[in-house]
């Protein structure tokens, strides 16, 4: 029982920390900077999720923007329905409670629909070996975007704003993004450091050997893919309520490429690496926004340089923890002294 008590305490501490940071950022940062910090969090969710399938399991998805879109539209639609249904009883609540009710439902639904989409895409394509998943997910990402682009219900190319002049309610704050980022990182880290993680890595390295030791490879791959899609759905739903509308153009191939850059920079297969990669992409995108049209060129160059200099990414498959940083620092100091 003390196990759950300790965890409750940790959870409370995490919530307090997220809230504290949220207040701190609100108080000391300009709105623009807060937005960048929020994108760091969203990217961390996306990267950690994508890394589970691309890095740990070794099945390459290049259409995760599609799952993000499904989560964004699904979440926004749910929240709009909820707002109309609850009406004044929702708006009567304090702001925080409104966010809690509306955004949590949106995120949960977004994650669920993205997971279902992941299941439907994953079951046929993950049965096959090789690069089929890459091709299928690439197609899926584009199909989803074009579907929303042509859908009357979801506002077509101008985007979905719930049919209101003021658009969607902007519930998403740093607090919620940070909280969901912690949840996603915890879930993925627990999966990776368990029997499931070993099984997924075995599939990545040698599928025949994995089968021979009794691993249901297709089922495990689909599981990893569904969790990964759900994470993208969570990020999508949070992203939707950051602005007044969800636009199909937000989910172009560029975004899938961004996600891949995040995990390759951070190190395929490393949870903490993915978080760092996510932050890296959020920050560089803002720093170089004036040269935004060269972004794909710049990322391509970056990947080429990275493949030459450090093919395993920043962290490789290792994880960053404070003890490791301490060891590295000491080794560096003693190495420098000699």
């Amino acid at each position: 029982m003390s196990r759950w008590l300790r965890r409750g305490a940790i959870a409370l501490l995490v919530v307090a920390l997220c809230w504290g940071l949220d207040r701190l950022f609100e108080a000391f940062l300009v709105e623009y900077a807060v937005r960048i910090v929020i994108f760091c969090g969203l990217n961390a969710i996306l990267a950690v999720g994508l890394n589970l399938i691309n890095g740990t399991t070794g099945q390459f998805s290049i259409g995760h923007a599609g799952f993000m879109a499904v989560g964004a539209y699904g979440g926004a639609y749910t929240v709009v329905q909820l707002e109309t249904w609850l009406g004044p009883s929702l708006t009567a609540l304090p702001t925080f409670a409104q966010q809690a009710v509306a955004l949590t439902s949106g995120v949960l639904v977004g994650a669920t629909v993205a997971a279902i989409a992941g299941f439907l895409v994953g079951v046929p394509s993950l049965r096959l070996r090789g690069d089929y998943l890459a091709i299928v997910t690439l197609g899926f990402g584009e199909i989803i975007r074009l579907l929303f682009n042509n859908s009357e219900t979801f506002g077509g190319a101008t985007g979905y704003s719930g049919g209101r002049p003021l658009g969607l309610t902007t519930y998403t704050s740093f607090f919620w993004v940070a909280l969901w980022a912690v949840i996603v990182v915890t879930v993925v880290a627990h999966l990776t450091r368990s029997s499931y993680g070993r099984a997924l890595r075995a599939i990545r390295e040698d599928e025949i050997a994995a089968e021979a030791v009794g691993l249901p490879t297709t089922r495990l791959k689909v599981m990893a893919f569904v969790v990964s899609a759900a994470a993208a759905g969570i990020a999508g739903a949070l992203f939707a309520h950051l602005q007044s509308a969800v636009r199909p153009d937000d989910f172009k191939l560029d975004r899938s490429v961004d996600m891949i850059v995040m995990i390759i920079v951070g190190g395929l297969g490393s949870v903490t690496g993915a978080v760092l990669g996510g932050i890296f992409v959020a920050v560089t995108l803002e720093l170089f926004r004036q040269w935004a049209e060269y972004r794909l060129v710049a990322y391509a160059l970056l990947l080429v340089v990275l493949m030459i200099v450090r093919p395993q990414g920043l962290l490789g498959t290792r994880e960053l923890d404070l003890a490791a940083v301490g060891r590295w620092w000491r080794a560096r100091r003693t190495g420098g002294a000699s």
Partner: protein, 266 residues
């Protein structure tokens, strides 16, 4: 032949790749507790037979019965969990993982906890992980690999990697173990040790062992029954002495003018 139901039985198994008849009509019976040798010249179809038994290939005809149940065409993971474990000719360890993890991964089906329990890290999760770790450490201990448990598998010398593969196979708690050329790359002294190890494995874990092997010294020294195939067909089956002196076997190996009329000497 002894009576009763054999542990593994192949009845008229066929496997065709395009126009190549890799296996045509092979039948064999492997009794529980036996050490069974499968021999034949290169390309005779021995590894193909292994792949049919373990489900990597689906047989194009005939029946594969394990303990009386048909398993031909089942997915490899199902067959592995039913109790047939194997090692590979070209060792297939997960090089990126430690020796202990390589063994533990074969116990995934006994983790005792689902996805939700894993994510929540329930007590059952930690109990399951601990049990897997203990079991893996026990196997590494009996195979003399304890000192290497935390090494990356790819850093191990060849002989140790073979033993890790055996430990991993045993983690499945199999009844039948298929060893694909365990003596490959061993010198004659090491091959002698291997013979002892195979007998010891069979007795300690109450296994049935099937051996694909080119090293005749090992095959004749340890197997109780030897089955020889060539061009996908059975050419001899019996005790080591019977098979060793069988004219068709001599013809297949030495390329003498064909005695069996199979055209092997052309």
């Amino acid at each position: 032949m002894s009576g009763g139901r054999p542990l593994l039985e192949l009845r008229e198994v066929h496997k065709v790749f395009g126009g190549l008849r890799a296996i045509s009509g092979v039948s064999l019976r492997i009794e529980a507790g036996q050490i069974f040798g499968l021999i034949g010249p290169n390309g005779a179809g021995k590894t193909t037979l292994f792949n049919v038994i373990t489900g990597i290939y689906r047989p194009d005809g005939g029946e594969v019965l394990f303990d009386g149940r048909p398993i031909g065409g089942l997915p490899p993971a199902r067959i592995a969990l039913m109790g047939i474990a194997r090692t590979f000719q070209n060792i297939r360890l997960i090089g990126e993982m430690t020796v202990r993890e390589n063994v533990m991964v074969a116990g995934h089906h006994r983790r005792g906890v689902g996805l939700l329990g894993t994510v929540l890290r329930t007590r059952r999760w930690s109990d399951g992980e601990r049990a897997l770790r203990r079991k893996a450490d026990e196997l590494l201990e009996v195979l003399g690999l304890s000192a290497l448990a935390d090494e990356q598998a790819r850093n191990l010398p060849y002989g140790s990697q073979r033993r890790v593969e055996i430990a991993r196979a045993l983690m499945l708690e199999p009844r039948l173990v298929l060893l694909d050329e365990p003596a490959a790359g061993l010198n004659s002294k090491e091959a002698d040790v291997l013979k002892e190890q195979i007998r010891w494995l069979r007795d300690t874990f109450r296994l049935t062992v099937v051996l694909v092997e080119h090293n005749m010294h090992v095959v004749m020294g340890v197997c109780e029954h030897v089955h020889c195939v060539d061009h996908g067909e059975t050419i001899a089956s019996g005790t080591p002495d019977e098979v060793r002196n069988h004219p068709a076997v001599l013809a297949a190996y030495l390329g003498e003018p064909s005695v069996a009329g199979s055209g092997a000497g052309s």
